[in-house]
């Protein structure tokens, strides 16, 4: 009993009669890294929010270090020794790294003043201990997303809790940062802490976790040691049916050039970018944080100003200065952060799907509700978007379905060239495969795909060719036999 840090049995929670979790079961041993797996809607978030005291359970027991507990607020859970690194990053942008890390527990000096010196020193010490090269006095909003995630990780670890829950902690991290995180997690394990690791990235789970628990459809499905299970069986437990393949790739690239970039420069020091993507080809851009992938996309799509270089589409010299010009040229851009730049969350599924194609869904300046409804219905069918009604707010959909709405929006514009920035980020295994099929079908039909990804498996599984970026320059191109994980990591680092 004393080796069990956390034991949960019979955890049940319903929202207005709909069960989100039925008889949830979970055991976390001291000094282990325990993966919590399951697709969207599996009940993982509900489970975690109950453990963290954000929600109250209907039934069930939670035992922490041998004593039964019932947290009614996150601060209670935190005080008891459970901290969480949330999936959604929500720092205070105008404050510094140190201020964010010590929010609510700022060290005080005489007369109740904040002891900034101590706060900054402690924060920096924590960051250095983790080998995160971040300055504690930097302002949060100046940091790129990856560093923001590292700060959130450092913050959670600074509580020195017994249990640390990590929800998709590497979603914004490149290979090197992820390795730093894994080192930190292993160090926690040595110290006898317990880590609950929630992730859709199976390679990470098989890399770092000792044990696992799988939820599906709000039910506990099974648990065990990672050493005793393989990837296919895990996928089967998560999805509920055998996935014949994780990736879908049926396309055969042609030799007809579609998108040619010569001597292109973009923001943040991206220079000398030369490549040619062909019709029917899936080209991946692989690189670490700061390597320039998003900058290249933003320049191609007219979201950042022209600096230098030539662009040829289907052999014709073109300039693109605004997104609407890009759309006219047949480009589509699925951005990295759908909540920030892909969807209008307060708007309906229908209006989001129609958003990039409004000019064609009416008569002159007047819109046609009929055309809009028909277009939305077409995309909902094509992408199997799970929503009971297209007039519901898109914020209510799961991550995978939201991503499909974004894809639906772009496919409505009948693009020839698809730019995808981390297309399966925050998307569960089942929906991921559907997105891979979309990519494969698009290429089979003669479209060109350029996608940026930091998941090596995805790159190896889907790409015909990989352009590796490093520090804003092209470090190399890999294809066929040369396209291996080792070569990718070697070039990118």
């Amino acid at each position: 009993m004393t080796t069990e840090l956390l034991k949960v049995t019979g955890l049940t929670k319903s929202f207005s009669g709909v069960a989100a979790l039925k008889n949830g079961q979970f055991t976390l041993e001291k000094g282990t890294i325990h993966a919590l797996c399951g697709g969207n809607g599996a009940g993982k978030s509900t489970f975690l929010s109950i453990v963290m005291g954000i929600q109250k359970r209907d039934r069930g027991t939670i035992t922490f270090n041998g004593t039964e507990v019932d947290f009614s607020s996150p601060s209670e859970a935190l005080a008891a020794g459970i901290s969480i690194i949330e999936q959604e990053l929500s720092p205070v942008p105008a404050m510094t790294v140190a201020e964010n890390m010590y929010l609510g527990r700022e060290p005080l000096a005489r007369f109740g003043r904040i002891d900034f010196k101590k706060m900054n020193a402690n924060a920096q010490a924590m960051l250095d201990e983790l080998h995160f090269s971040i300055s504690a006095t930097e302002v949060m909003m100046d940091l790129p997303v990856a560093k923001t995630q590292l700060v959130e990780i450092a913050k959670a670890l600074s509580y020195r809790s017994e249990i640390i829950i990590m929800d998709e902690p590497t979603s914004a991290l490149g290979e090197a940062e992820a390795d730093q995180l894994f080192d930190a997690i292993k160090a926690l394990r040595e110290r006898g802490k317990g880590v609950i690791y929630v992730s859709h990235r199976l390679s990470e789970i098989f890399n770092i976790a000792d044990s696992y628990t799988v939820f599906r459809d709000g039910q506990y499905i099974g648990d065990g040691a990672i050493a005793d299970i393989d990837r296919e069986s895990m996928i089967q437990m998560i999805v509920g049916r055998p996935l014949t393949e994780e990736f879908v790739k049926d396309n055969v690239p042609s030799t007809k050039p579609s998108l040619q970039v010569e001597n292109m420069s973009a923001q943040n020091g991206v220079r000398d970018i030369d490549f040619c993507a062909h019709k029917g080809e899936i080209v991946a851009l692989y690189g670490l944080m700061g390597s320039g992938r998003s900058e290249i996309f933003e320049r191609l799509f007219g979201l950042s100003p022209y600096i230098a270089g030539n662009l040829l589409i289907d052999g014709v010299q073109t300039t693109i200065s605004t997104p609407s010009e890009a759309i006219e040229q047949g480009l589509a851009f699925v951005t990295e952060d759908r909540k920030r730049s892909g969807l209008v969350l307060s708007a309906t599924v229908r209006s989001n799907i129609c958003l990039a194609h409004l000019d064609f869904l009416g008569f002159g300046p007047v819109m046609s509700t009929k055309k809009e409804a028909a277009s939305a219905a077409e995309m909902i069918k094509q992408f199997s978007i799970k929503t009971s009604n297209d007039q519901l707010e898109v914020s209510g959909l799961s991550g995978g379905n939201q991503q499909k709405v974004v894809l639906g929006k772009w496919f409505l514009t009948s693009p020839r060239i698809l730019l995808l920035d981390e297309p399966t980020r925050g998307v569960d295994v089942g929906a991921k495969r559907e997105i891979y099929k979309v990519i494969s079908d698009f290429a089979t039909d003669g479209g060109t795909i350029l996608f940026a990804s930091s998941e090596i498996d995805e790159v190896l599984g889907m790409a015909d060719r990989v352009i590796v970026l490093k520090n804003g320059r092209i470090a190399g191109e890999l294809a066929n036999a040369d396209l291996t994980a080792e070569n990718l990591v070697h070039l990118a680092a």
Binding site: P323, G342, V344, S351, L355, D359, M367, G396, S398
Partner: protein, 329 residues
């Protein structure tokens, strides 16, 4: 399995509650007033209320466009005065204003007034959209500057003795309905149509709901932001001219604090200051609510200062309802 549908229906209920809630409140207040005051439900009084609400209503409709894009227009009161004074100076029989050539036909005076309004709006719009100055600051500047221009233009004096032709938009009527109400109705109907049925309307909602996503989807958020201020300015100009026509004289202190009533109507009507959510019909009900409450308190002999307190309470209550709706997400 998922509780998506549940939170959706709860959302819908709150939305309906919010939209129709103010309607119920309005109806309820009308019922109460018709019982407690024998004058409330008379034709004369109803037309009074509508007439008095028209000016704020027109301003509030322009404000709705702006607030939908996450902006705000604090300058409308000053534009009311400026457009009023400039257009009046073209339609006055006295020699007080700076315009030579005697009174001009009303349609010229009115056109000039609209141009003045649009000009002020365009300046605010350019400062907000091209120079990324926060709307609050940009329109605060315009509030000051336009008021100053008003005083400069008229030499600090009112412009009286307006031509009957010009005065007709304020004092005339069409089939028994006062002209301000007619104009308000037309502005209302056109605005509803523009926001709901046109591509521009979709763009306005997208630009306010998520400017990033709208930009990536090919919408020029900059242009949308500029145009909504021009609309607000034009409607402020229109309201200014109606006000001058009604009072018979354009005053340099016309429109002071009018922007607050306009914003109150918009917020009470359910449009979110966060942008992307809201309806013109809501603004209409919000404006009517303020107008009816003011009227009712007048009829019941309540001091006008209480009216201000009640208006303040209404605004806060409306925003609290709005927050409750957002919390569901």
């Amino acid at each position: 399995m998922t509780n998506i549908d549940d939170s959706q229906s709860r959302q819908k209920l709150l939305l309906i509650g919010q939209k129709y809630g103010i309607l119920f409140a309005l109806v309820l207040i009308c019922v109460v007033l018709s019982i407690t005051s024998e004058y409330f439900l008379t034709t004369r009084n109803i037309l009074n209320v509508l007439r008095q609400t028209s000016i704020n209503g027109i301003l509030a409709i322009g404000m709705t466009f702006v607030i939908l894009t996450r902006g705000i227009d604090l300058s409308v009161g000053s534009v009311v005065a400026l457009a009023g004074i400039v257009s009046a100076s073209l339609a006055t029989t006295s020699g007080t204003a700076m315009v030579a050539g005697g009174p001009y036909p009303a349609f010229i005076a009115i056109s000039v007034g609209l141009i003045v309004g649009m000009g002020c709006g365009a300046i605010s719009g350019v400062v907000v959209s091209r120079f990324a100055v926060p709307a609050f600051v940009a329109t605060l500047g315009m509030l000051s500057a336009a008021r100053g221009l008003t005083l400069l233009y008229a030499g600090g004096r009112p412009v009286p003795a307006l031509t009957p032709e010009f005065r007709w938009i304020g004092t005339g009527d069409l089939f028994g309905i006062p002209m301000p109400v007619v104009i308000f109705a037309v502005v209302f109907l056109v605005s509803v149509w523009v926001l709901n049925a046109t591509r521009f309307g979709r763009h306005v909602y997208a630009a306010g709901g998520n400017p990033h996503a709208a930009t990536v989807s090919g919408i020029s958020v900059k242009n949308i932001r500029l145009i909504v201020y021009v609309i607000s300015g034009a409607l402020a100009g229109l309201a200014g001219m109606i006000l001058a026509a009604r009072t018979g004289s354009a005053l340099t202190q016309a429109g002071i604090a009018y922007e607050l009533d306009a914003i109150a109507a918009v917020v009470i009507g359910g449009t979110s200051l966060a942008g992307g959510v809201g309806r013109i019909t809501g603004t209409l009900i919000g404006a009517l609510l303020i107008g009816v409450v003011n009227n009712g308190l007048d009829l019941l002999g309540v001091e006008s200062y209480y009216q201000q307190v009640i208006k303040g309470v209404l605004i806060v209550a409306a925003v609290m309802l709005d927050q409750a709706r957002h919390k569901q997400e």
